[in-house]
């Protein structure tokens, strides 16, 4: 039963991470990220107690809330990014290559790390998709989404080998810090007169 749910969590991670890459609307971006944290929670709780894994979900949703509120105050005209490559087909194609590559890699990684295939694949997929996001966009909001996705993938993998409360707390701080940085980027304040 749990194995099936792990595969289902992987499917959610796959759909949301590809969706994050394809959708340009920030509302979709934040919504997909919030759903992505559900799959992260599920994959992390296979190694951590549910109460500790829940911290990932809460932190992730808090990060989404911070980014969402910051976006509401942003001028929509500034969202557009003129950079290559912009084509949806191109992004879909690269995402497809990444899905195949991470699957091949996770077959070895799962054996090496002693993890289930859906966990190893989910983790590597999120890391890959996050890196792809970072590679094709220089827009602050997209960069923060990419970094949060990379960290989410890493956290799934790292949860299998480390269960320290301090690490969990610091990783949560970093996730929230990244979201706050994103909010700061979006609403870059006018400097107060010193």
């Amino acid at each position: 039963m749990f194995t099936i749910l792990n595969w289902f969590a992987l499917l959610i991670a796959l759909v949301t991470s590809v969706g994050l890459l394809l959708h340009r609307d920030w509302r979709w971006g934040i919504g997909l990220l919030a759903i992505q944290y559900l799959s992260i929670f599920w994959l992390v709780q296979t190694h951590w107690p549910v109460s500790m894994a829940a911290s990932k979900l809460v932190t992730g949703w808090m990060a989404c809330a911070v980014l969402g509120i910051a976006q509401l105050n942003t001028d929509p005209a500034e969202e557009t990014e003129v950079s290559w490559p912009q084509g949806r087909l191109f992004r879909l194609f690269t995402a497809g290559i990444l899905i195949a590559a991470t699957f091949a890699l996770s077959l070895r990684a799962s054996g090496w790390l002693g993890l289930g295939l859906p966990i190893a694949w989910g983790s590597l997929l999120l890391i890959g998709m996050g890196l792809l996001q970072l590679g094709i966009s220089a827009q602050p909001f997209r960069v923060i989404l990419g970094l949060l996705t990379v960290l989410a993938g890493f956290e799934i993998l790292y949860a299998a080998v480390e269960s320290s409360t301090l690490v969990a707390a610091l990783l949560s701080t970093i996730n929230l810090g990244l979201a706050l940085t994103g909010a700061y980027f979006l609403n870059m304040p006018q400097e107060e007169n010193q």
């Binding site: 480390e162 990783l171 010193q194």
Partner: protein
């Protein structure tokens, strides 16, 4: 009370308090006095020993428990704490002269405290998490007010964030190697992960593209502080790795890898600086060269390399402060910092322009200036192993020296008959005068600062022996 409370949590609390204040001079004064007290405490107070003052008796314990892990600042770390907080005083004291005290002192103090925590945390691999927290805290410091974040800032955030997973994961592999030292495959994987992690953290070639971008787009003084603080602490963190893992320390390829990386950074930084048109970017390349030199000192095995590494500390701090101060003043009053736009500025800003050129020359290892003694020691150390390496390194130095000459020529190209004046404030002139003297005296009498770094190698149990 515990040492981590005094040198980590107290500065963090004060940093929060300083953010509430508005007066620049008051903020700088409080920060400087407090940092001075921390420096003196590090210098004078013994740890884990009862201290009696009148009827009062207290003991400063070296350990502090947090969420099942420990922050440990032992007796050996005291000289490092004194040096870090002592250098921070210089940055904070100069900040009001360029009107950056409000942001720099509060956030700078918090960043310093977090990076000290990174050096104190046990297991020491968790330092990567604390360094990342400090990186996030430095974003408001580096962002140009009222503007969208530039590419340099975004790349800084990405590269520094990517370093953390590599280092944390390599820690897990390293634990596996300790249990099974014969597994060569595991050793190889761990070495690759550590290498990638430190390449991102230290902005090693080719991951240093953000440095010149950042020095171009942000306030030079705050960038100078960040580019001084992060590489310094990261190298201490890297030394911790070498000290902790025997297999890594004794790896036959380590010396070659460090030399290659160091030479690549010095040569590429030097060549790019030589042909650079923007003054800010030249400072960025100088920082890259300095990181390269630090890595080269680590390639000189034994305590010799470690001693030279510590020798670089004070001249680098002083040169960077002067360089960043001069650049900030010029940036405020010049349309751009491109060479063609700064022609003849020596007649209007004699102290700032002279400071910039002197700092540039000091970091290029010019004789009689502060940077020369450590650079000369590095050249000598490298020459004993390979002459070709020294030639390459000298080429890098020459590049930075050439950039100083080009900048000097641009500064002095004033129209005939232009009058001499000095638009620097009195405080700026005094600061420059003191720093010129310090740069010269440290070049002539490097032994004067010897007591500051003789105890530092003792921080490392194995490397310092």
């Amino acid at each position: 009370m515990s040492a981590p409370f005094l040198w980590i949590f107290l500065p963090l609390t004060l940093a929060g308090f300083l953010m509430l204040l508005r007066n620049q001079k008051v903020i700088a004064l409080i920060a400087c006095i407090f940092t001075l007290i921390l420096t003196l405490a590090a210098w004078l107070l013994p740890l884990d020993t009862a201290i009696t003052i009148g009827n009062m008796s207290f003991k400063l314990s070296s350990s502090f428990e947090i969420l099942g892990r420990h922050l440990i600042l032992g007796s050996a770390d005291r000289s490092l704490l004194a040096l870090i907080y002592g250098s921070a005083i210089v940055w904070f004291a100069v900040a009001p002269a360029v009107k950056t005290a409000r942001r720099l002192t509060s956030l700078g103090l918090a960043i310093t405290a977090l990076l000290v925590a990174a050096l104190a945390v046990e297991p020491f691999l968790y330092a990567a998490l604390l360094i990342e927290t400090a990186v996030l805290l430095s974003i408001p410091l580096l962002s140009a007010p009222g503007q969208r974040p530039g590419n340099g800032l975004i790349r800084f955030l990405i590269f520094q964030t990517l370093a953390m997973p590599f280092i944390l994961f390599s820690g897990w592999l390293l634990a596996g190697i300790e249990a099974n030292p014969g597994d060569l495959g595991l050793v190889q994987q761990a070495a690759i992960l550590i290498g990638l992690g430190f390449s991102f953290l230290l902005a090693v070639f080719p991951f240093y593209s953000w440095i010149p971008l950042l020095t171009e787009e942000s306030s030079p003084y705050t960038v100078g502080f960040i580019l001084w603080m992060f590489p310094t602490v990261t190298i201490f963190f890297g030394l911790g790795f070498l000290d902790h893992y025997t297999w890594l320390r004794d790896a036959p390829a380590l010396g070659t890898v460090l030399t290659t990386v160091g030479v690549l950074m010095v040569v590429s930084g030097g060549l790019l600086a030589a042909f650079q048109q923007h003054l800010g970017r030249i400072m960025g390349y100088a920082v890259i060269i300095e990181t390269g030199f630090s890595i080269l000192t680590l390639s000189l095995r034994g305590t010799v390399g470690l001693n030279i590494f510590f020798m670089l500390f004070i001249p680098r701090t002083l040169s960077l402060v002067v360089w960043a101060l001069a650049l900030t003043i010029l940036k405020e009053h010049s349309p751009t910092l491109i060479l063609s736009d700064i022609r003849g500025l020596v007649r209007i800003w004699p102290f700032a322009t002279s400071g910039l050129v002197l700092a540039n020359l000091a970091l290029a290892g010019m004789p009689l200036l502060a940077g020369f003694p450590p650079h000369q020691a590095i050249w000598e150390g490298l020459a004993s192993t390979s002459l070709s390496v020294v030639i390459w390194v000298l080429l890098g130095n020459l590049g930075l020296f050439f950039s100083a000459i080009r900048v000097m020529l641009a500064f002095s190209a004033a129209p005939e008959g232009a009058p001499w004046e000095s638009r620097e404030t009195a405080a700026q002139r005094i600061l420059f005068a003191i720093s010129f003297l310090a740069l010269l005296l440290l070049g002539l009498f490097p032994q004067w600062v010897l007591p500051l770094w003789t105890k530092l190698p003792a921080i490392f149990t194995h490397l310092g022996q």
